[in-house]
Amino acid sequence: MRQHLGRSITGHWVSVTGVLGRSTPGPRVDVVPPQSTEQSPRTWTLVVLAVLGIALIVMPAAFGMFARAPKGAVMLTEFRPFMTTSRLDGFQRDIKQINAGVQQSRHSVASYLDDGSADGSSGSFKADYPNFASFAAQWGAIDTHMTSLLESVQGNLGNYQAVAALPSFRLFPWFFVVPGVLVLLLVATMVIRPRRRRTVRWVLVAVGLGLVLAPAVFQMFQRAPKGGQMMSAFKTIETTSNVETIQGYFGAMAVGQGAIRLELVPALERTGLTRAEINTRFPALATLDQRWVHILNDMTPMIGAMSDNVVNYQAIAALPPFPLFPFFFVLPGLLIAGVALAAPGQKRQHQVSSEPSGPLSPDSSRN
């Protein structure tokens, strides 16, 4: 009677009809010239594949992706209404219009109301309109900060669009977990169903190649670094401190505009100017006055989105750097494909004679 010997992943010799321990005492069996062409995966390849599968499954949890990636998706969604050229241009226009109105008020209007005073700095204008004067004194810093912030955001519009074009962040953890589970199942299949291991091996190679190709398909090599640039640019923008500063600006601007609307314009009217004459003589002031509600309509939700997404930004910032992400797919993919290709090992064509002819020497029949 002859028995085919294979090797389990523990390295023990296994017969088709029974199990032979490495040092199984008993009758001698002869290892006869090979006749079977069945291939057996090397033990280490299966171990490595299993480790890779587990690593893929564990990695998202280790990086906190399940909690953080959805926050990234929320941030991208909530920024979407504002991250368009027209909307960002609109914000820039808002700030320019406020600036023009403030400058005209502090110079031309002040001069007019002071009846000939050079630039309104003589003191009476400031004394008569302390709310506006206070705001005007703050405006330079506000303008600089807001303009810089908007330029930074606008400069990252392309980067935002690149990141937004990636698959939803909510899916990212699953891009690792699903292949990981698949690899583990395939390894298990190789162990449990040795006859299918040739097919399984090629499925593993396909899974590996899928991981390698995924970043290319999703254009991650181009988009992820852009995401990294966006995250860097937003580092100083998406902070509680910055948001509170902007909230403070909002309060100052409301007071300043209120002073223009409720103090300066009535004061100009008291000099005998009609509304039409004010509009003609002080167009920047008139524009600010007329567009103020629109500016509030426009900018308030943006401040809300900035505020609401501080936590979301911080969650994404705590993930590994964006530019590394493509390699989180490529490296495991290459390893899985490579190891799977190495999995078959040497052809093992053993036949074992049950007739005693000498001591069992498994080493002699190993690879």
Partner: protein, 236 residues
């Protein structure tokens, strides 16, 4: 035999239940247990006024993040008629004020084309930095999307307490929950419970609370609400 045993067990359980019902007092309504009594009617609001040394009537203030209710820093509303423009005065709405135990929901639409609030049942829309704000209480809080109970104010020996979870300030196409507690039952930041005084003879009341803004452009700010007026009991 088995049936008899079951019958005995069942009888025993019934007897235990009956005993429990007698010995352990049945849960009573919160009002009865605490001694606080829900006032049924409308808290008619007195219009806010800055004529005295301190503002009176109905008003609200907004406190910057990091501030305190007592000392601010307060957000100035340029449209306030008070010298201290951190006080935004309110005048009674079409219902005269806050109807206890009832929702006074937002109209549809809730905002004008310029973002001004249209809710006018509790208070008349009032200008806040050039855009009207209004107050409403809706079954579903429009900011958080959470179901909230109708406001309930109770009186116990002249002390008012209760909840106004549904209190929502509308402004600039946005809703800001200004309830206490918040719709999730918490009291974040400077949020303070509803408290006040009530004179059962004159029906004069003062009701105050503070509510942190959670989320949106005013995240971290706190609204302080001061409602004053005369309670009008509902005719039974």
């Amino acid at each position: 035999m088995r049936y008899r045993l079951r019958a005995r067990v069942l009888l025993g359980l019934v007897a235990l239940g009956a005993l429990g019902a007698v010995v352990i007092p049945a849960p009573v309504a919160g009002a009865a247990r605490s001694g606080a009594k829900e006032l049924v009617g409308t808290f008619k609001l007195a219009a806010g006024s800055c004529s005295g040394t301190t503002p009176s009537g109905t008003y609200f203030r907004m406190i910057f993040p990091g501030g305190t209710i007592a000392a601010g820093k307060f957000f100035d509303n340029p449209d306030s008629t008070c010298t201290d423009q951190s006080y935004t005065l309110a005048s009674p709405g079409t219902a005269g004020g806050l109807i206890n135990g009832k929702y006074q929901a937002d109209p549809t639409p809730a905002f004008s084309t310029s973002g001004g609030a249209l809710a006018s049942s509790i208070v008349q829309p009032q200008s806040f930095t050039a855009i009207n704000f209004g107050i409403a209480t809706n079954p579903t809080d429009p900011q958080t999307g959470l179901a909230v109970p109708a406001p309930v104010i109770k009186d116990k020996n002249g002390k008012l307490s209760g909840q106004v979870e549904a209190w929502s300030a509308d402004w600039n196409n946005l809703h800001f929950n200004q309830g206490s507690p918040k719709p999730d039952g918490t009291k974040p930041g400077l949020t303070q419970a509803v408290s006040g005084t009530y004179n059962a003879k004159t029906h004069a009341f003062v009701l105050t609370w503070a509510s942190a803004v959670v989320g949106g452009p005013f995240n971290g700010f706190t609204g302080y609400w001061h409602l004053q007026g005369t309670f009008k009991p509902k005719k039974s």
